[in-house]
Amino acid sequence: MKQALLEFALQRPRTVYLVTLLLALVLGLQIPRIQVDTDPENMLPETQADRVFHNEVKEEMALHDAIVVGLVATDHADGIYNPASLGALHRATEEIIELEGVVARDLMALPVADNIDQAGPGTVRFEWLMPEPPASREEALAIREAVERLPLLKDTLASGDGKAAAIYVPIRDKDESHRLAREIAAITAAASAEYGAPGEWHVTGLPVAEDTFGYEMFVQMGISAPLAGLAIFLLLWFFFRSIPLIVAPMIVAMVTVIATMGLLIGMGFTVHIMSSMIPIFLMPIAVVDSVHIMSEFADRYRPGRDRNETIREVVGHLFRPMLFTSVTSSVGFASLALTPIPPVQVFGAYVAFGIMLAFLLTIVFIPAWISRMKPEKLARMQAAIHSGEGDSLLARLLRSTGRGALRHGKLVLLGFAVVFALSVAGITQIQINDNPTRWFKSDHRIRVADEVLNRHFAGTYDAWIVLDHVDRPDGALLAERVQPALAAAPAGVREFWGELAPATDETLGGERLTGLISALEDRLFDADGAAAEALEALLRAVESVASEAKYFQQPEVLRWIAALQADLEASGLAGKSNGLPDLVKTVNRELRSGAPEDYRIPERSAGVAQALLQFQSSHRPQDLWHMVTPDFSRAVVWLQLPSGDNQDMTAVIEHVDAYLEQHPLPAGMDLQWAGKTYLNVVWQEAMVKGMVGSLASAFLAVLIMMTILFRSFGYGLLAMLPLTITITFIYGLIGWIGKDYDMPIAVLSALTLGLSIDFAIHFIERSREALAELGDFRAAMAAVFEEPARAISRNAIVIAVGFTPLLLAPLVPYITVGVFLASIMAVSALVTLVLLPAAMQPFLADRKRAA
C-alpha cells in the first residue's frame, strides 16, 4: 500500500493536488455552520444524572440563569444608601426589567422587593421596599434600616457593609446574555449619569462569562491559529531556507486543519473550548512528518540525482517510524475518548483523526510536491541547508550533549532517578481545582466584577441543597385513615368513595389529595343528611393526610433545616444560605412584634401555613416557590458562595456530609446537591477519574505498539522511559509550584504521551539502524547525534514554537496549554537525547566487542 500511494503521488501529482483541494473545499464549506458552545454544563453528557437532576430542580423551582449586576459605591459616606445611587439603581431596575429576554417576575432588586414591617403597635405592613427613589438622606437610610431587617435581602440584594447593591437579572435564554449584558451596561451608565450617582457598575454571572468566553474564543481562534501558522512558517524557513519547499508542509497543515474542523462542524458537533484548540494542536503536529521527510531528502538529495528515486528511498526509510509516531500520537489523543466528558472526547477523537489525515497527506502530497519542484530550486535549498549545517550551534550542542550523556552515564541515570522521585513527591501535592470564571485573565472585566461583587456580597456563585420528602403517603395509608368514616357511611357514599379511592400502592402527592378533597366537596354540594355527614367525615380524614403530606411545613423539619443553615453560616465556607426557614421566621417576627426574639419558626404547622399565607399576599407570592414546591414535598436551600473554585465547593459538600454524620437527616428526608458550582465539581471529578483511565490505557497501548515496532519488549520499555519521566516531571512541577490541576492540565497528560513518544521512536529506530550499520555503540551514538538528533530537536522546536502564540490568547486555559506544551516538548526532547543514550549504554556498550 505504501508503494502504491507513493507511486500514485509521484506519477499523478496533479490528481493529488486536485484531491487535496477538493478535500479542503468540501469540508471547509462546513465551517461557516460553526456553533460555539461555552456552557460548562456541557462538560457532562446531557443524560448525566446530576445534570438531569439539576435541570429538573431548576425547572421546578423556577431558578433561572441570572446576570448579576452590581452597583458599588465605596467612596460615599453612606455607601450605596444615598439618594443618587438608589435613584440610579431604581432607574436601572425599571429599565432592565423591560428588556426582552428578561424574566421580569423573578427579577430581584431592592426596587422590586417587598418589605414587611411594623407600621405601629399591633399593625403589620406589607409594601414595596423602594417604590420610588428616596428623596432625602433620611429616606435612603431608612431603606438601609429596612434591608438590615430582612435576612433574605441582606448580603444578597444589598451588601452587609452597605457599600453595594445588586440586581439579579434572570434570563430566558443564556445565549442572549451577551446582548443583554451590553444593553444593561448602556442602561446602568445612563442611569448613573441621570442621577449623578457615585459608584461603579459591574456585570457578572455565569451566563455573561460563558457568552463572553465564546466571543473571546473566536478571537483566540482568529489570532492564535494564524500566528502559530506564521511562527511555524518562519521556523521552517530558518531550517530549510527554501520558500517553495516549505510551502508544501504549510499546505498539508492548512488542509489538515480545515478538513478536521470542517468534518467536526459538518458532523454537527459544537465547538467547545477544547475543540477550539484543535487547529493549534494540529498545525505543528501536521508539519512534523514533513520535517522528517524534508530533512532526509535534503540530506540525501544530490543535484543530478533522480529526485523521485531519492523520495522513494526517503519515504521507504521513514514510513515505519512516521506511521508509528502518527499512530501513537493518535492513540494518545484518542484515549481522551475514554473520559466521560463529551467535549474532551470530541477533541481527542478529532485531533486523532487530524493526525492520521496529516500523515496520509504528508506521504502523498509532499512527494508529489517535491517531484514537481524545479531542479535549480532544489539545488539552492540543498546548498543552503548543507552550508555549515554540521557546524551550527545546534549541531555542536547536540554532539557535546551526546558525548556528555555517555561519559557521565551513571550520573545521568542517578540525576533522572532523583528528578523522578522529586516529581512523584510533587504529584502528591497536586491541588485538583477549577473555576470557569478563572478562565479569564485576572484583569478581565468579568474577573474584576467577580472579585468586587464577591468581596461585598455573600457570594455570586450558586449551589443548591435540595431536600426531598421521600416517605410520601400512599393509597394504603389513606384507606386506613378513611376506614372509620367509611364504615359508618351510607351505601351511596361508600360506592362514591370506591370509585374515587386511589390504589393502595399509589403515592399521593399534595395535588392528588387536593383533587380528592375537591371531588368530595363537589359531592357534598348536593348531599344532605347522613350522606353529608359521612362526606364531611371522609373530608376530614383526607385533609389530615393532606396536611401531613406538607412535609416542609412542619416546624421540626424547618428547624432541622435552619440548624443546617446556621452550621453552614458558622463554618464560614458558604457566604450565605437562603431557605424557607428564613422566610417563615421573618414573617413570623413581623406578624408578632418585629422584635428579634420573635425571629423563629412557629410552634405549629398551621402557624407556618398561616405565616406563608400572609407572605403570599405580598407583591411577589411566586418567590415562595423558589424555596419550596406548592405541595411542600421539596425544599431548596440556596447557598451563595463567594468562590466558584471547585475546591471550595467540595469543602462545603464535605462539611455538610460531616454535619449529617453528627445530625442525621430526619426520617423520610433526602438530601441532594444541585447548582452550577456543584455541577462543575461533578464534571471535574469525572474528568480526573477519566484521565487516569485514559492515561493508563494510552500508556499500555503505546507500550504494546512500541514492543511490536521494535520487536523487543526491552526496547518498548526503553521507548516509554522519556515520556514517563517527562509526564511525571511536568505534573510534579505542577504540584510543586501549586498550579491548580484543572481541565487543560488534565487533558495534557494523555496527549503528552502521544507527542513525546515520537522523539523516542525516532531516536531508538535510528540508534538501532546505526548500531546495525556500524556495530559499535559509541560510534552509533556519535552518528545518531548528527542528523537524527538535529531532526528531533528541530521538531521539538517546531512544535514548541508552534504553541507559543497561545501565550497571547486572552483566555487562561489557552495560555496554560501553550506554556505546558512548549515545556513538555522541550523537556521530552531533552530527556530523550540525554537519558536514552545513558540508559542504553549498560545494555549495549558491550556491542563493541561483538563487532
Binding site: 403589620v124 409594601e127 395535588e511 387536593t514 385533609e543 406578624l591 407556618v608 399565607l613 415562595l624 406548592p630
Partner: protein, 268 residues
Amino acid sequence: MKYLQLIGLSIFALALSPGARAEPLTDAKEIVARANLASYYNGDDGRSEARMAIEDAQGRRQLRQFTILRRDHADGGDQDFMVFFSRPSDVRGTVFLVAKHVDRDDDRWLYLPGLDLVRRISAGDKRTSFVGSNFFYEDVSGRHPEADEHTLVETTAEHYVLESRPKDPGAVEFDRYVTRIDRNTFLPMRTEYYDDRDRVYRLMEVLAVEEIGGYPTVTRSRMSAPLDGGNTLMEFRYIEYDVGLPADIFSERYLRSPPVDWLRRSGE
C-alpha cells in the same frame, strides 16, 4: 369598578328584565358606576362560599376555600367584609376583616389561629396578591371608580367597551385596562390589563353568571397571566343576598370567635 363581584349587591333599581334594553348609555362614568354596583353591591348584604383553584405556569394547583360575609353601609359606598378560610385545613379559621372606605384607606384586620394572633394590617398597596392567587386584593374588594379615567371606546350589541387609565400611574402596575361590560347586567365580563409595552399581562374572564335572588351574579370567573402562565379559577356557591347580617359581627371581637350562625348555609 370591575369584576370580582364577590358578592351580590344592592338593588340598584334598574329594570334588568330581559328585553328592557333601552337606549345605550353613553356616559362612561355612569356605566362604571353601575358596573361597580352590579359587581359589589347586590342586596344590602350577602354571604357566599368561594373556592379558588390556583394553577401556576407548571400546572401545579393549590386550593383556597373561604366564606365571605358582606354588609353595605350604602350602595356604592362603604362596606364591611369578612373572609373566613376553611381550606386548606392548615389555614382553617384564618379571618380577614375589611372595612372598605371610599374616601380613605380601608381598615384591615387579620386573625391567624395557628399563631394565635390578631393583627391590624396597614392598608398600603391594594394591588398585592390575594392569598397567593392571580386575583389582587383590589379585585376582591373592588377598585374605586374614581381611581381611573374611563372612556367608552365602543358599544356593541352586547357590551360597553371601556378603556380605563390610572390617574396615579405610579400607584399601579398597569398602563391601562379594557373592560367589556354586559349591557344588560352591567357585569364586567372580560377585562384585559395592558403593560406599558401594550401586552395583555392579566386577563379576567367571567365564565358563568347566574341569577340569584333576582341579581345576576358571577359564579365562575378566571384571572390569568398570559405572559407568565398560570391562572386562578374562582367559583362561588351558596350565594345568598339580604340575609340580614347584623352590623356588630364585622368587628375585631368576632375574629377569634367567628359568628358561626351567620357562616352556616341556610337550611343547615
